[in-house]
Structures are given as C-alpha cells and as structure tokens.
C-alpha cells in the first residue's frame, strides 16, 4: 500500500519533514520509491517565482541535447539546482547521471504573452522533452512550471532523501507532497511514481483505480495534449483535476462531485442540485469507483484530501494555524505537527473534501451531501 505525506506551512520547511513522516508510516509501505513535489519555493528560488523550473533527470550524453533544445526554443537558464548526491554504503539506489531543477527565462516572444500562452508553451515543451527521452530512458522530465520542483527516484524514501542530500542542504518550500512507494501494481518506472503534475495541479493517491481504463480513454479523447503517460493507474486523478479546474474552470469542490458523485437521492440538500445532476451525467466516465485516498493541490495552491465511499484507504488531516499536514496515518501527522490539538484532527468521511488554502489558517471541510463548508482551526 502507498503512504502519503503532504505538509503546507506559512514558513519554509524541508522535505525531510515529509520523509520523516513517511518513515513513521513505514509499516504501511514497501519503501520502494520516493516522489516529491515542492511548491512555493524558498532559498535561491524565492526570487524566481515567475520563472518556470524544469525538473528532471538526464544521462551525461543527453545533457547537451537538452541544453541545445532549450536554447533553440529561446529559454535561457536563470538558475540551476542540482542535488549534492550522497550515495552511502548500503544504499540500494542506482545513481543516475544528472538530477536537476533548472529555472529559465521565458523566450523573448513569450515574455509578455498571456498566461494561457505561457502555460501551453510549458506543457508543450515538457511533453517534447519527455518524448525525446522515452525511447532509451535517457531523459526524464517531471514538471516544467514556475515555483515548483519535482524529485523522483526508486528506493527507500529516507535513503532517497539522504541520497539527494536533502538532510544536509535541503530545498525549502511552503507546500510539499511526498509519496513513499513506487507504483507496484504496474512496472517500476519513474513516470509511474506519484505525485503527478500538470499545469499547476498535482495529486498523489493511495489505492488502486479499478475504473482506470474507461477513465483513461475518456481523458485521452478530450484533445488535451498533456493527457498522456498513464504508466500508473493513478495518473488519471491529476488529469481529472486539471480538466475540472484548468479546462472547465469549475471550483475545486466539484472535483468531488465528478470523481465521487452522489446518488441522485442524496442530492436533495444541494442548492446546485440541477447542476450536479447534469455534471454527473456528462462526466460519468470520470467516476473513479475507488478505493482511493487522494491528496493533491490545485492551481490556486489549495491542498486537499478526499476519499471514495468505500473508504478502504486511511487518511487524516490536522495541524495548527500556520502548519497543517495531510497524512495517510496519525503517526505521520504526529511526526509532522506534534504540538497540535489532536481532538481537532479530521478523518475525511465519504462525503468530505478537506482543504487547506495557502493562507494556512484553518482546515475547511466541504460536505458534499449537505452542501456545507465547515472550518477547523
């Protein structure tokens, strides 16, 4: 089973906090990999909020190919971060040549372009680089987006954290998602490792997605170039989120109504009943059917957790104003935010979408059945 660890804070913190939380939940995962997404970055990247950051891994031979490609497109390097690799004896990690997070200046023609043009440029560029490396696995690229870095590697999460030197010279961020397991339902592949990301939206998931194939077929028919990959059945969750938030531009709470729609008889209390009835019908193939616990963030920076009605995957949210954590298990929450009022911990039930926005002042619980929002702080 996967274990998930997400933390949002109003101060910069190290991803080692997420990794240590994963370590406490180790009985629940097989330690086969680590995926990290850091957003709202600190350190050297704090001054580069508008610059898109390309996160990936290259072989020695493909470094110049990538550089040449980016130069040709007009992207100019602004800042390069590479981890200080520390491959200690006993670590089972197989080191790859070049891990990087590189901040770029937009090409001149795109400097003053509108947001949509820039977003499409970043997506297109990431997909092209991805395709360049697919044949021989010489080039992986996980995200290309401002103020966001993705790191992924196969191995025990704590070892991977140390391998990247995050315990010595950490990257800092205000929102970090970490997942402590490689995808083991399908082949081990870095592109199968959560969290997944597309145009400002990211998710990671615990549980198998039984409705994967029909959902994938529906998504790929939308004509959106980023809906590719699917080395993991969980990648569809981020694409659904992107479709709801980025393409249809619906509020985040409707993500719940799309992937886990209410039965018609349960819709009576919703003032938007007619809208969600139609939404359920029209987006019927996106119903996930579970069992899944999903943690993610949307393009506004709000971080959330939700579960389907089968509720066969653990999940808890808690914290204090200024720092909240969304974890698979309470022990992980205890590790991340030990000094909190545990009576205010939220265990999302089947109708709940639990959210914490970037102000980090409170937990909001959207109850899908009652159509009500409550807060815990």
């Amino acid at each position: 089973m996967c274990r998930l660890s997400a933390i949002i804070s109003d101060e910069y913190f190290s991803p080692m906090e997420n990794i240590m939380a994963l370590e406490t939940m180790k009985e629940g995962h097989d330690g086969s990999g680590l995926g990290l997404i850091l957003r709202n970055l600190g350190g050297a990247f704090e001054e580069l909020k508008e610059n898109p950051i390309l996160s990936g891994i290259c072989s020695k031979e493909s470094i110049p190919i990538l550089d040449e490609f980016m130069v040709k497109l007009g992207f100019r390097t602004k800042h390069l971060w590479t981890p200080k690799i520390s491959l200690k004896k006993g670590m089972s990690i197989k080191k790859r040549d070049f891990y990087f997070a590189r901040a770029y200046e937009y090409p001149d023609w795109a400097q003053d372009a509108d947001q949509q043009t820039k977003e499409n440029l970043l997506l297109k560029t990431r997909l092209e680089i991805r395709n360049m490396g697919l044949a021989d696995d010489t080039m992986y690229v996980f995200s290309f987006w401002p103020d966001m870095i993705t790191l992924k590697e196969v191995g025990d999460p704590l070892e991977v954290g140390e391998f990247f030197g995050l315990d010595q010279k950490p990257l800092l961020a205000k929102t970090i998602l970490a997942q402590g397991r490689q995808n083991t339902n399908y082949a081990i592949n870095l592109y199968a490792c959560h969290p997944f990301f597309i145009q400002g939206n990211g998710t990671m998931t615990n549980g198998e997605n039984t409705a994967f194939v029909p959902i994938r077929e529906f998504l790929t028919g939308r004509g959106i170039p980023g809906y590719v990959g699917y080395r993991s059945d969980s990648e569809v969750f981020v694409h659904i989120l992107h479709y709801i938030r980025h393409e249809l531009k619906f509020p985040l709470k409707y993500y719940k109504d799309v992937i886990m729609p209410l039965f018609d008889r349960e819709m009576g209390e919703r003032s938007d009943r007619k809208a969600i009835e139609l939404l359920k019908r029209v987006l019927r193939p996106l119903t996930i059917d579970g069992p899944n616990c999903i943690i993610g963030f949307d393009q506004s920076g709000t971080i959330f957790m939700t579960q389907d009605s089968k509720k066969l995957r653990p999940g808890v949210v808690g914290g204090v104003p200024g720092k909240y954590a969304l974890m698979s298990e309470v022990c992980g929450l205890d590790a991340a935010v030990p000094d909190r009022d545990t009576s205010k911990d939220v265990f999302p039930m089947k109708y709940d979408l639990v959210m914490v926005d970037e102000e980090v002042k409170e937990i909001k619980v959207w109850n899908q059945k009652h159509g009500s929002m409550s807060t815990v702080n």
């Binding site: 039984t210 709470k253 969600i276």
Partner: protein, 551 residues
C-alpha cells in the same frame, strides 16, 4: 395396369431425412390422443399397425402365428408436416410414451423449398456452437491491492443512461459565488436512467396478447415494486391504446419501423398521454434478418392486431426492407430523428436500431455528429425473429461482439463514448448466461443490452433452440401460446405466470451482475468499456477485440 408391388417412392422422404425422430413406445401409450391433438405441425397421426404374434395354447407347445392389428402413432414424412422437435407430445403425454430426438444427419434444408418457396420460419440462427460472448471471461479480480466488494452487502448502482449526453464543453454551467449554476434556458437532450438489460423489440402481433401482457405486467412490477427500472420495446406494431394513455407508458420504448404499423393509433394518442414513453426506437434493421423488413404473416393478423395496426384482417404484413423516406442518412435519418423528437416535445430520447453490419461505423459516425440522436442499438446476427427466410437468419448478419467493439473504440477515438450510448443485441443470454453476456458486452463498450429470445424462453418456456427446434413463430401455431394470435393456443399461456418469471429473470440478473462487478471492484458506475477486465482463451478473438489473451 401397374403392379401392386412396384416400389416407386418419387418425392417421398424417409424419417432419416427429417430433423427429428419421434420415439413412441406402444407399451406405455394409453392411446389417449393428446399428443396428436397438441402437435403444432401434424407431424404425428393415429395409425393402424400389423403385429405378428406367436402363441401357444393348450398343455403342449403348439406355436401358432397370428397377425393382429393395433392402433398407434406414426410419424408423418410429408415435408409440410415434419416433426419440428418441439416436444409438446412429450409434455402432454401422461405416460412418458413419446418424445422427439434430434437427427443430426437430417436433410431438411435440402428438401424444404417445395413449390419454389424457400423455407421461412421464426426463431434464431441455427448455430449451436459456443458464441464469442460465452467465451469471454472476467479475469481482473480484485485481490489484496484492491479488496473485492461484497455483492450482498455493498451498495451497487447497476444503471445506465439511455439518451444523448452533451459534450462536457457544452455544459451550460456558470460559476457564481463558488457554486455552479445551471442555465435552464439551454436545451439539454433527454436522458433516462434505466437498468442495463432491456427487453428488446417484440411486436404486439408477433407476440400473443397473453405474452405481451405478461411481459408488460412484469416490467411494471419491476419498476414500481422492485425499483429496477427495466424498459421494454414494443417492436413494430404499436401497443394497446389503453396502455398508450396509461401511466405505464414510461416503461415502454415505442418502435417505429418501415411499415409504420401502429403509429396511427400512437399519433392519435399523443394528446392523451399521461406520461412520455421511455424512448422512441427507429428500426432500420434487425440482426436476425438484416436487410429484410418486418414480416407478420396473415395467419397472425386477426381482429385485435388488425385494429391496433389499422389494416384489414388476414393479410401478410410485410414491412419494406427500408424506410421509404430514407434516401440519405445525413438528411432523411436526421429528419426522422428530429420529427420523432418534435412529436414528443423533445422530451423523449430517439434513436435508431440497425442490424449488425460492416457499415455500422458509417452509421455511428453520422449519428455522432447528430446532436439529437439519443443512442444506437446494434442487433447482431444471433438475434431472433418472428418470421424470416431461413437463409437470412442462418447466413446474413454480423456477430455483435466485434461490431460493438469497433463502434465503441471509434467513439473513444473521437471522444464521444459518453455522448452516444450504444446498446448491443443479438444472442445475449443465448445459452442462459444473460448477466454474463450483458456484462461482457458492457465491458466491451455497450451502455446496455437487449434480450428477446432469452426472455421468451425464461418467462414463457419458448421451445426454440439452435437446432431448429419448433420455430413455428411465423405461422401462428406456437404450441406454447407465445407467438400466436389463435385464442385456443394463447390461452395456454397464463400472463400472470409470465409476469412472475419476468420479475424472477431481472432480479436474478441484477444479483448476477453484482456478483460479476463486485470482485472487479466496481459498484458506483457501470463498467462501460472496462476492457481490461476481460480475457479470452482464443488469441484471434483477443486480438480482434483488443482484450487480453489468457489461458
């Protein structure tokens, strides 16, 4: 003068030429005559036989031979009165003295074209081989990584949508104060939520009044008491006017076919309808007899049917092979869909039904571009019929599995698989696996399925099978009273018992569908297109259907 001993047998058949042998046991037979009176094809007749008896009387053995006569049953070898193998004789015999047996070496088809008229019959394709649908297995069983659900305790929603769904980018929704608001001034096509197994079109005319009434009662009970929203298609020929004006109309799909039979009554009833029908099905083709129109032979056009259809009694009602107004799919079919939609105030889904064909994709693509097309039903070669030429039934048509799969994958390619539902028919439950066949078709991409023959067999004991058994539907001599308009025959059928069995069938299928979907971890939505759940142990089928091969 011709010799008495000449053995000329020109044109005569032997029993071995016929499709069924009659086994009659003179020792058990009580000569009650029930078998001969019930035989729908007069294939057996009373006869006098001669017997040689050797006996001895007195104290010493003095054998003597005497010839005696006795009465019994003889199988007729006249091709017009061949034994159809229905087995009604065995059913009524009080002493188990008679039964038919299939003769695999028969020469029936070779002889059944007397007078230059090819064989016409009812029933289905005579092919007893295992169908593709029966070869498909459900192999994605949830284990450990994803616990299976409990079919008995978990809540399942075994429902599908009938009707056109709009594209997500056409959603008339706006965001106001973080809520979605529906713009109700925008037209959204009607959609019905129904049980994914429907009763396919069997006409009031092809079916006896008792059979039709039994089905209708069963469907109403399922909806109103069991809360299983099963719908039933009328077939061509309309339905009784009192039902058109009743609140039960919502459980029926009204079919319009190329003869437009019954539609005069329907059009006149529209202003008096309390409910809208579930849908309108425009029949362009039928899987059992592709390219042929409907056929209700004169034997069955009696008083009630003539009234409902608005025609004289006792004439053959042959619907044309195609709608006379149809000269192009782009225009005429679209117009017909719009006309029918308009007649019901755009509140009722309207969709075409075609027979399985290599050209199904062309039809599908046209419908996909027509925003008023509510669905497409494709009827495969294993569908049944009340009357058709044998050659149409046996040799014409397309299997449903690959036809459906091609169409579904094409919808996937153009991103419209949720906008235009496909219903699959033809051989669903052919060997009794109703729920399994339905689930397999759903996982290949069908939104739902139709069944006809299955329900006739399960609900009323139809005797037909894939070895040409019975199949007298066309001549109105159905010995079970299912496909006849002869009151002496259809009074054999109790409509209440038919209704009870209809309810049994759908309740059982509902449970079986849960038993299939639960181990696959699916409960909230029907697994339409969940092809990763299917496997087959035939590589060519696997490749053709783009599913896994497992052995």
């Amino acid at each position: 003068m011709e010799s008495k001993t000449r053995l000329d047998v020109n044109g005569q058949l032997t029993i071995k030429d016929l499709p069924y042998f009659i086994h009659w046991n003179p020792d058990k037979c009580t000569r009650c005559g029930q078998c001969t009176s019930v035989c729908p094809n007069q294939a057996i007749e009373p006869a006098v036989f001669v017997s040689r008896l050797v006996s001895s009387e007195g104290s010493l053995p003095m054998p003597a031979t005497v010839r005696t006569t006795y009465h019994g049953i003889r199988q007729v070898t006249d091709i017009e009165h061949y034994c159809v193998g229905c087995g009604m004789c065995a059913l009524v015999c009080p002493n188990g003295a008679i039964y038919p047996e299939y003769n695999p070496a028969n020469k029936f088809l070779i002889n059944q074209n007397r007078g230059g008229a090819p064989l016409k019959r009812g029933g289905r394709r005579n092919d007893p081989n295992t169908s593709t649908l029966d070869k498909l297995k459900f192999t994605r069983i949830s284990m450990l990584t994803d616990p299976a659900l409990d079919a008995g305790r978990h809540e399942f929603h075994i429902r599908t949508l009938l009707g056109r769904n709009i594209s997500p980018d056409q959603l008339p929704l706006t965001v106001k104060d973080d809520d979605l608001c529906l713009d109700e001034t925008v037209f959204v096509p009607p959609v019905r939520e129904i049980f994914p197994i429907r009763i396919g079109g069997m006409s009031f005319g092809a079916l006896s009044p008792n059979m039709w009434e039994g089905l209708a009662m069963g469907v109403a009970y399922l909806n109103e008491v069991e809360k299983i929203p099963v719908v039933m298609c009328t077939g061509e020929g309309g339905m009784p006017t009192r039902l058109l004006k009743s609140r039960f109309l919502k459980y029926f799909i009204l079919q319009i076919a190329s003869g437009y039979f019954g539609w005069d009554e329907i059009i006149h009833a529209i202003p008096h309808m309390k409910e809208d029908p579930a849908a309108i099905e425009i029949k362009y083709g039928q899987g059992a007899k592709p390219g042929d129109g409907g056929l209700l032979m004169a034997f069955k056009v009696l008083d009630l049917i003539a009234k409902v259809r608005g025609i004289p009694m006792k004439i053959d009602l042959a619907s044309p092979p195609t709608h006379q107004t149809k000269y192009s799919i782009e225009e005429a079919v679209a117009k017909m869909i719009i006309s029918m939609s308009m007649a019901f105030g755009f509140r009722v889904p309207v969709y075409p039904k075609i027979s399985g064909t290599k050209t199904a994709l062309a039809v599908l693509n046209n419908l996909a571009r027509n925003p008023f097309a509510g669905a497409l039903t494709i009827d495969g070669e294993d569908g049944g019929t009340g009357a058709a030429y044998n050659v149409s039934m046996d040799k014409m048509g397309h299997p449903i599995a690959s036809n459906l799969r091609d169409c579904y994958l094409n919808l996937v390619k153009i991103g419209k698989q949720n906008e235009l539902p496909i219903f699959a028919a033809g051989g669903v439950g052919k060997t009794g696996n109703l729920a399994a066949n339905a689930a397999a078709l759903i996982m290949l991409g069908a939104s739902g399925v139709d069944c006809g023959k299955y329900i006739m067999q399960a609900a009323a004991g139809c005797l037909g099978d894939e070895q040409n058994r019975c199949n007298l539907c066309n001549v109105g001599r159905c010995p079970k009273g299912i496909t006849t308009q002869n009151p002496r025959l259809y009074r054999r059928l109790d409509p209440d018992l038919v209704a009870e069995r209809v309810v049994d069938v759908f309740k059982a299928a509902d449970t079986e569908l849960k038993k299939i979907f639960a181990p696959m971890g699916r409960s909230t939505q029907l697994p339409i297109g969940m092809s990763d759940g299917l496997s087959v142990s035939d590589r060519q089928i696997a490749e053709r259907l783009q599913i896994d091969y497992a052995c």
